[in-house]
Structure formats: C-alpha cells, structure tokens
Symmetry: C2
Subunit: 340 residues, 2 copies
C-alpha cells in the first residue's frame, strides 16, 4: 500500500454510480481508503445531476459519454452488459483500465476473470479490461480454493438461494413493497421480476436455454468457475434460484474430490481460506445465514460434512453465504483495483 501511495494516485471512476452495486463501490473505495486523486461518478442521463457523498463531500453524477471518460485511469463499471459493451472499449481506448462487473467480457480469452484470493496472477498482461466474476461464482468458490489446491475438486454441484440485490435496487424495492402488500392483504403486480416475490421462491429470472434447460445465470456460474480455477475439465452443474432475501446469497455445495478427505481436513482448509469465516457450530445449530453475511466483507462457510450419497469418502456437502453486493460484486472489484 505504501508503494502504491507513493506513485501518482489514479483518477478513478464508478460507472453506474446510482445502482445498488455502484453505491457499494463508492462505499468500498471510501471504507478501504483507496488511494485516488479524484473520484468521478457516471450514470445514465436519467440519473445524471444527482449527488452522492464520498469522503464527506457531495459528488455530482455525470452523464456517461465517451468524452466524459477521458482522463480516467481506473474505471469500475457496473451498469449492465449493454452499457459495458458500448463504453468499456471506449474507456480502454481513452487510456483507462476497466474493471467490469457485467458479464459482457468475462469469457473473452484475453480478459482476466479474477477473484484476488484465487487467481491474482491472471491480472498480469491484461489488455485494459479485467472482468469481475458472477456473484454466485465468487461466493461459491472463494471458500473452496485451498481445498481445490490440496485435493482437486473434480465435480461440483451448486444450488443457490439468491437475494434480490443481484437483480438491482429496483428488485430489492419490489421485494419490500410486494411483501408489505401481501401482509396487508393487497394485490401486487410484479414490475421488475417475472414472478411474485413475497414469500415465494422461483427459478432464476434469466432466460432459459431451450436445448439444455439451463438458465443464463447457471451457465455463467459453470463457465466462470472453470475459468477462474483454470480447470476446464471440472464437472459442474448449477441450479440458480431466487429466494425472498435482500442482499446476501446462500449456496449449498456438493463436491467430489480426487481423493478421499476427512471433514476435519476440509474444515481446516476452508476455514483457512482468505476472505472466509468459518461458521460451523453443530451444537448450537449455527451455520452461514444471509442475515449474518449482509454487510460483511467475509464469506461465511460451514455445515461441512460428508456427502452421504457417495460412499467413497471423496464427497462433501457444505453451505456458504456472502453479501452479493460486497464480495459478490463491489468489494471484489475494488480488491482487483487495489491489486493493479
């Protein structure tokens, strides 16, 4: 940190500053005392002109234009895939390094897809774009990395309990408003998400591939984990489901390793993973919960036990929870920026 502070601090930008992730990006930059000369905030024309606080001062949000991005050294994009596809190449051409939270470039071979606790070396030789992975991918695999290095995970089955925040601030508000309407006995027509959200659970709202039956979220999770782990042969399946929770995802994981392993060994490896806190109290029935993960930088991991459906002793089940807006998005992006 001393070294990076001694260099000329960069001009940083948050694109999509008024969104759920954008606001957390600003908060993370402030909270982590990110060294910068200036912070600039961008959003669509609709949100331009509003102000957001940063280090005690109100910052005016600018309309995102190609010209506006000139002079930016590091741009943190979180404004959706369409905006990223249009403006990220312009930002790079204007000299910025972009950390992009959308899925637009994640699977491009020359774009590093980075979880700093896992594959920081992938940042070397980037060409101006670094992709921030899907939130479920980050939350699922950050706890698994030391285990994977010690005893290769050959098969991974992911079943998610995903919060509203992944669909943006409007979805979080829809969850609140529709829940209140339900409790008051009033009807509520969903506007943001395709299904009633109050006291309901539904398959992830991204479109479903007609042939495979997997939705886009699941496909992203499966592809991205292989890329981050640099393990194209890892066999993965995912079931992505929304639950009525505001901002932290929980994920049930079933995994198979190359060799048998004990629960005690797995607990040591998972509990020792950077950025992870072990929450695994069988006696008190206390395990990772979205409520505890909300607002926390660390991913909570626990319920580590043998998967009894595999008698070989090579399979485990566990349960994790992580803040979708923090480690699942904004925090990971800022951690990448810190590594640059």
């Amino acid at each position: 940190m001393a070294e990076s502070s001694s260099r000329a601090a960069p001009v940083a930008a948050v694109v999509g500053a008024t969104g759920a992730v954008g606001r957390e990006l600003i908060a993370c930059l402030e909270r982590r005392n990110f060294p910068l000369r200036q912070l600039r905030l961008f959003a669509s024309a609709r949100s331009a002109g509003t102000t957001l606080p940063f280090r005690g001062e109100p910052l005016r949000v600018e309309e995102l234009t190609a010209q506006g991005l000139r002079g930016v050294d590091v741009a943190l994009f979180s404004a959706g895939g369409a905006t990223s596809r249009r403006f990220v190449p312009l930002a790079v051409r204007a000299g910025a390094t972009v950390i992009d939270n959308s899925s637009a470039f994640r699977m491009e071979p020359d774009v590093p897809l980075v979880v700093p606790e896992i594959n920081p070396e992938a940042l070397r030789g980037h060409r101006g774009i670094i992709a921030n992975p899907n939130c479920c991918a980050i939350i699922a695999i950050t706890p698994l990395w030391p285990l994977h290095r010690a005893n290769r995970i050959t098969r991974l089955q992911i079943t998610t309990y995903q919060a509203a925040s992944g669909a943006g601030a409007a979805a979080m508000e829809e969850l609140r408003a529709s829940t209140r309407a339900f409790l008051d006995g009033e009807s509520y027509a969903p506007r943001v998400l395709p299904h009633p959200y109050a006291f309901n659970v539904f398959s992830h709202n991204t479109s479903v591939d007609a042939d495979s039956g997997y939705n886009e979220e699941e496909t992203k999770v499966m592809q991205e984990i292989r890329k981050i782990f640099a393990d194209p042969g890892m066999r993965i399946s995912a079931t992505c489901v929304r639950v009525p929770v505001l901002r932290a995802h929980a994920i049930a994981l079933n995994l198979e390793c190359a060799a048998p392993l004990s629960v005690a060994a797995a607990r040591d490896l998972i509990g020792g993973a950077p950025g992870v806190r072990l929450v695994d109290d069988r006696e008190r029935n206390y395990f990772p919960m979205p409520r505890d993960a909300s607002g926390q930088d660390e991913i909570l991991a626990g319920r580590i036990r043998q998967d009894l459906s595999d008698p070989s002793g090579r399979s485990l089940a566990l349960f994790v929870a992580g803040d979708q807006l923090l480690k699942g998005a904004a925090l990971n992006a800022v951690q990448i920026a810190e590594r640059l």
Copy 2:
C-alpha cells in the same frame, strides 16, 4: 368409493385438531367427502373447548385423554412426537387404526410408511399404526416413483427450500410478524424458531448430529425415502434449509439412474406420475414455485434437465414444489385413510 360407503362408515378422529396440519386434516375430510359416521376433534387441555367448523356445523374440540379415544375407528394424529408416543398405543389398544403424522413410529419395522401413489401395498397387514412420512420425503419422491421403477435411481441429492408451516402455525405467524417488524424498522426477537426469519434463510431448526453433521430432518428424509421405496441401498444425501415462505416446500433434486436416460423420457415419466403436475416451460421461464403449489393437492415438478456434472448421461436435475400442509401432511394422511 361406493363399496366403502356401503359398509358402516367409521367414527373418525383428528388429534391435534387446532394445529396447522389438524385444520387441514378437517378440511381434507370435508372436501374429499370422506365417509364417516362421526368426526371427533382432540387437542391439548389448552385448546379444548374451542369449536371448529365441519360440514357446516361447529364441532367442539375435546381434551385428549385415553378414555376419550374409545369408540374411535380411525384416528389421524398430528400433535407432535411426544403426544403420539403416549397416545397412539392407547388408541390402537382401544381398537382404532391410527395414521400418525409424527416421526415417532415411522422407522419401526412393523409400521407401514406410506405414500399412496407409491407403496399402497405396504398397508396390508398393518398392526394398527400407519405412519405418514416426512413432508420433504413425500414431496421429493412422489414425482420420482415412475422414474425409479423404469430406471432405478441409485443416487439422490436433495436440497430443500422449506416453508414455515413445517414448524407449525406459530412459526407461520412468526414469519409474518417478524417480516412486518423488519419492514417497519422494528426489532423482533425470535420466539418459535432459533434464528431471525424475516428475509433470511437458515439451516433446518432440528438438532444436528455431532458426528455426522446432519440434522434430524435430513436424517428422516434419507431414511424414510429408502423405506418407502423399499430400496435400502439407495445412496442419498440431504441439505434441509428453511426459507421465508409460508406453506409450500420447494426442493432441488439431483439424481443418478442405473442407466442413461433422456430428458424427454424423464419428463414423460415424471409428468405421468399420479398426484403430480408438470410445470416445465423453458420458453416462459415458468417452473414450480411455492406460491403456485400453495393450496394445491398436486405436487408441481419441472426444470427437468441433464445434470451436467455427470457426463455419463445417467444424471438429472429437477425442481419440485408441494404444499407442506396438504400432500406433505394432511392430504397424504387422508389418502391413506381412504385406502384402508
């Protein structure tokens, strides 16, 4: 039905009549026009004296005593394990056939554990007690039975999204009250369940085995499925989780069959299962949801696709939802009574 009506109709009893399942038992008996000479309602001393409607008349709830059960031909118990352990043997001794919704007798070798769509033949030769299975077991396997018969399921992994109703009417009320408090910015101390329920997800509230790490709910589900399927070798693991939903469970299933099978063949088998409705619309992203399953007799099944983590073509993933109080409890019990 004509034949059973021509015999002397039985005196039926609901024990635990004022509970969440008890009320649904009464409603199921009425709605299905169950042939009976008299219905008697029993509850603890605390609830005795209240009246509940049945076929347009108010029925007085009696305090449960050994004497009171005399003259009852069929008793539907849903008053918890302790009450069942004490009173079910007394009811049987007094001449009643008992259908018990608790887990007290389910794993007794001489007690049939029955899902009428799956193993009605297990009712033959019962000794007065028939056990109604765990709600998750019923909801998970009713759609799987025709598939299992066509192509044996050798491995089954169950990940649940369980509603409040499984913990009783008080838990449902706690979910409502704590959610309202959360939305109003007020604090709420959990009274019924061990963790905050509003906009949260937590590992099932039954106690966790110190050695295996599995909770009692998971152990029940794994044991009971093997018994109902009469397949002691089936390899099963379960992860049981509460979600903030009122009365219908959703379950993600990953299964492996003895031989490869196509999604189309699986869809035909699952869609043809008695008591099951296929909800599997990839184009509209419409799949089983607790909201749609609530108040429905049928279990909804869909999201049928290959489990991509198994390249052998023998594994599938699917998603089901069923009303915990109906097919998960009261309806299945009344269906057993109809078969007797």
